[in-house]
């Protein structure tokens, strides 16, 4: 009963979303406010309905309705409750429901805002979000239904179907297969919802962009309304990406966090379009420029969001991400193609209205440097897109599939990332309208002195890799310039207001949240860059087979192998765990416990022992080998310098975001 109920509600949600889109569009053309209002109510109702459907599925996951194929495949009796619930996004069919659920939540939230000043946008915002929602619901209903049940014929054949096939009875397995062991990790529990929140969040600014194009109200109103939505989407997408990296680092046991896998790139691409969008809307607000470009960026971001969902959900590209093959490829292509073509058509139609109000004159002005930032991000996006589609293109052109791997991405994007770092240094020092090398040089020379000092110290202490020298120089340059900017602003306030330094800094930040929050985010980015440079350039590794009592030396550390234990854990897995003592310069620093678990179904999981400091990580893998013994235990050890700054950077990032996006007092008043 529950399965039919959940499915029925899902179908109703789909019909309601279609109705909402239709009512909004016809309301717009017939200028009927009642139809528009009805479409808005309908969209809000979809949230209630899909919540009901999703909660039904969660209830079945939690209570073990294994007659439902999806529940059978991702849930099992011995899983703790929180895993049974999060199994909602442990497989493809459930992930799609989560996508629609979040989409509906965002769409509903946006219809709740006060619309008096922007009434003309409403029908198109409703229509765009409702159509997107209806598209994803249709995938669930027609292609990957999570409520499909198992049926058994008299001859014993079991097959999945929504409704009872003739002559068969419901088949109820006594237990499910359970969630993939690799997904039973906090990083994996929060990574998909965060990523999806980021994905669906970008649909809102896109919907407003389309509304602006259709209605012809192409001033910067749509951008001002969606500023906060865009920031929220960007925050979640960024956190989602970092959580995925952290999960890979903690769980996959190969010493890294990012492998330039097509699915990773699919999630990165919307970020690569959304980040320049975030920057260039500032130029539109302040200078009335780049309007066409902003439209193009948000259209691209939306298409990449859909494309990203499609790549993770189809069998087009081979990837470590397991859920893949399915039948939706053509439908996705049609949807992406249609929405892209219509959006670009609208953009061309309004092209003249979106002309810049002013002209860029100076190549070093703030707006020109923002444009450069946009082009660099766009360049990285093109590199990534090329890398993902290259196998398909090469096969069509030459008949032989060619692929590119991590070395391609590192080589092609490296110089662009470096240029972005340099830009993060220069841009805050440039002025709106007009800057020259001279004016920037005057502002930059002070923070450049300590930067140069860092470079010299590095060189003297034998850092001779030019990429490292350049990278670390740029990182310290951005840090010094950013701190200098804070200091300069605070000094000015001190002089005028007579405040003490700390009051001055905090008031300064609060008065210009977006600017100084942005600077904090820049510091977060260089912190992450530091970690990435460290692990990419200086990772060392060794693999040795030891007997208890023997030692491994790596990068100044000594690891002594103390003991080995093998024991069963309560949930049935067999744990093999080694204990190693870490020494540096003869001093005991602590213990590491690398282990591998073998589950009853034969799945094994290697969990590295990691010791993190600000300077470096020691990352020890106990090699999964069936003949492991105290006399012969194979280990693989990585030394990952500076990688911790990658995770520290993501924490600073959230802080900077909060500073930038916290509602201003005046804004709260004016919204009311």
């Amino acid at each position: 009963m529950l399965a039919q109920f959940g499915f029925g509600v899902l179908v109703l949600t789909f019909l309601l979303a279609l109705f909402s889109a239709g009512a909004a569009i016809s309301g717009y053309f017939s200028k009927s406010d009642r139809w528009v209002e009805s479409s808005r109510r309908a969209l809000q109702l979809t949230f209630l309905l899909i919540s009901l459907s999703a909660l039904t599925l969660i209830y079945m996951l939690a209570t073990g309705h294994y007659e439902v194929e999806y529940v059978y495949s991702v849930s099992s009796l011995n899983m703790p409750l929180y895993l049974k619930i999060t199994a909602l996004w442990g497989g493809q069919a459930g992930s799609l429901i989560l996508w629609s659920w979040l989409m509906s939540a965002f769409a509903t939230a946006v219809t709740m805002r006060k619309w008096e000043r922007d009434r003309e946008f409403l029908p198109w915002v409703v229509a765009v979000t409702a159509i997107t929602l209806a598209f994803f619901l249709s995938l669930s209903i027609f292609f990957d239904n999570p409520f499909t049940r198992l049926w058994q014929t008299i001859s014993g054949q079991v097959s999945p179907s929504m409704f009872a096939p003739a002559g068969s009875t419901l088949y109820v397995p006594s237990d499910g297969q359970g969630l993939n062991e690799f997904l039973r990790h906090p990083g994996m529990i929060f990574h998909p919802p965060m990523l999806y929140l980021g994905f669906v969040g970008f649909v809102i600014p896109y919907a407003f962009g389309i509304a602006a194009l259709v209605t012809g109200r192409t001033d910067d109103r749509w951008i001002r309304i969606t500023r906060r939505w865009t920031l929220v989407a960007w925050l979640f997408l960024s956190i989602g990406l970092v959580l995925g990296m952290r999960w890979a680092y903690d769980v996959l046991g190969w010493g890294g966090y990012w492998s330039w896998d097509p699915v990773e790139i699919a999630a990165l691409m919307p970020w690569l379009a959304g980040t320049p969008f975030l920057h260039s809307v500032i130029i539109q607000e302040k200078r009335g420029m780049l309007k066409q470009w902003n439209m193009l960026l948000i259209i691209l971001t939306y298409s990449l969001v859909i494309f990203g969902t499609f790549l993770t959900r189809s069998g087009v590209l081979s990837s470590v991400h397991a859920f893949s093959e399915s039948a939706f490829s053509p439908i996705f292509f049609i949807f992406i193609g249609l929405t892209f073509a219509i959006s670009i058509g609208l953009l061309i139609y309004r092209w003249g209205d979106l002309r810049a109000e002013g002209e860029m004159k100076s190549l070093l002005s703030r707006e020109a440097l923002f444009l450069l930032n946009n082009l660099l991000f766009f360049g990285i996006l093109i590199v990534c897109f090329w890398g993902v589609v290259f196998p398909l293109i090469s096969e069509v052109v030459t008949g032989q599939q060619l692929t590119v791997g991590p070395p391609f991405y590192l080589r092609a994007t490296g110089p662009l990332w470096a240029a972005l770092l340099a830009l993060m240094g220069i841009a805050p020092l440039s002025a709106w309208g007009y800057s020259t090398l001279k004016t920037i040089g005057r502002a930059a020379w002070k923070p450049s002195i300590p930067t140069l000092l860092v470079t010299v110290v590095l060189y003297v202490s034998n850092v001779r890799n030019w990429i490292a020298l350049l990278g670390f120089t740029l990182v310290s340059w951005v840090i010094f310039i950013t701190l200098y900017e804070f200091w300069r602003g605070a000094r000015a306030r001190q002089k005028v207001q007579g405040e003490n330094f700390f009051t001055a800094i905090s008031r300064l930040t609060v008065r210009n949240r977006r600017r100084y929050g942005g600077y904090i985010i820049h510091l977060a980015m260089v912190s992450m860059a530091l970690g990435i440079l460290g692990i990419n350039l200086y990772q060392t590794q060794t693999q040795q087979t030891l007997a208890v009592g023997q030692e491994i030396q790596i990068s100044g550390y000594t690891l002594r192998y103390d003991s080995l234990a093998q024991f069963p854990y309560v949930d049935g897995r067999q744990v093999t765990r080694a204990v190693l003592s870490v020494f540096k310069g003869g001093e005991l620093l602590g213990e590491l416990h690398p282990r591998y678990d073998v589950y009853p179904d034969g799945v094994s999981m290697t969990i590295p022992g990691i010791r993190s400091t600000m300077a470096d990580d020691l990352y020890v893998v106990l090699v999964n080998w069936e003949n492991v013994s105290v006399e012969q235990t194979p280990f693989k050890v990585y030394h990952n310098p500076l990688v911790n700054w990658l995770w520290i950077g993501s924490a600073i990032f959230v802080l900077g975001y909060l500073v930038a996006a916290w509602p201003e007092k005046e804004e709260i008043l004016s919204e009311k």
Binding site: A322, V383, Q401, L402
Partner: protein
């Protein structure tokens, strides 16, 4: 901020030239990096057909892991295993009953062409019988594939979720 026609034109040229330089740089980066790093992605059958001409080149091969062949040498920490040929084309795989089925058939069919692989490093968790392996490396003159990178997929956990034949009830 009133642009005189003269400066406006000069300003625009400046930006157009700048834009082209960046575009050219990106295009150069993409093409040179592709040229330096492109690898053939092939099946074992395709590899066999032109193996002589491919010795030493950077290749990416897809196949099914033959569980019984997996061996780990604790002294050298070398992992050796065989992979069996699976078709490279998604449509063919779908026509033959899905990836899990194709992998199963490849491993159990003794006539299916196989490739010996050697990899220096620990056995990945996903490395087991009938997993799909995508390996990057080069072919040696002795016909053994030296892998630098292993990617593994286990479709069974997700896709073959349903037991096709249940006995006893």
């Amino acid at each position: 901020m009133q642009p005189s026609p003269n400066t406006g034109k000069r300003g625009r040229t400046k930006f157009i030239v700048g834009g082209f330089l960046i575009l050219a740089a990106v295009v150069y980066l993409i093409f040179s990096s592709t040229q330096a790093n492109a690898q053939y992605f092939m099946t074992i059958d395709e590899l066999h057909a032109k193996s002589a001409s491919l010795v030493g080149r950077s290749l990416r091969i897809s196949g099914a892991v033959v569980g019984s062949s997996i061996q780990f040498n604790p002294n050298s920490q070398n992992l050796t295993f065989d992979i069996a040929n699976v078709p490279g084309d998604n449509a063919t795989i779908a026509a033959q009953g899905g990836l899990a089925k194709v992998l199963h058939v490849a491993v159990t069919d003794p006539t299916d062409r196989r490739l010996s692989v050697i990899y220096n490093g620990p056995k990945p968790d996903l490395m087991r019988d009938e997993a799909q392996a995508i390996i990057t490396g080069h072919l040696d003159t002795d016909g053994v594939f030296h892998a630098d990178e292993l990617l593994l997929k286990c479709p069974t956990k997700y896709q073959e979720a349903v037991p096709s034949q249940v006995s006893g009830n």
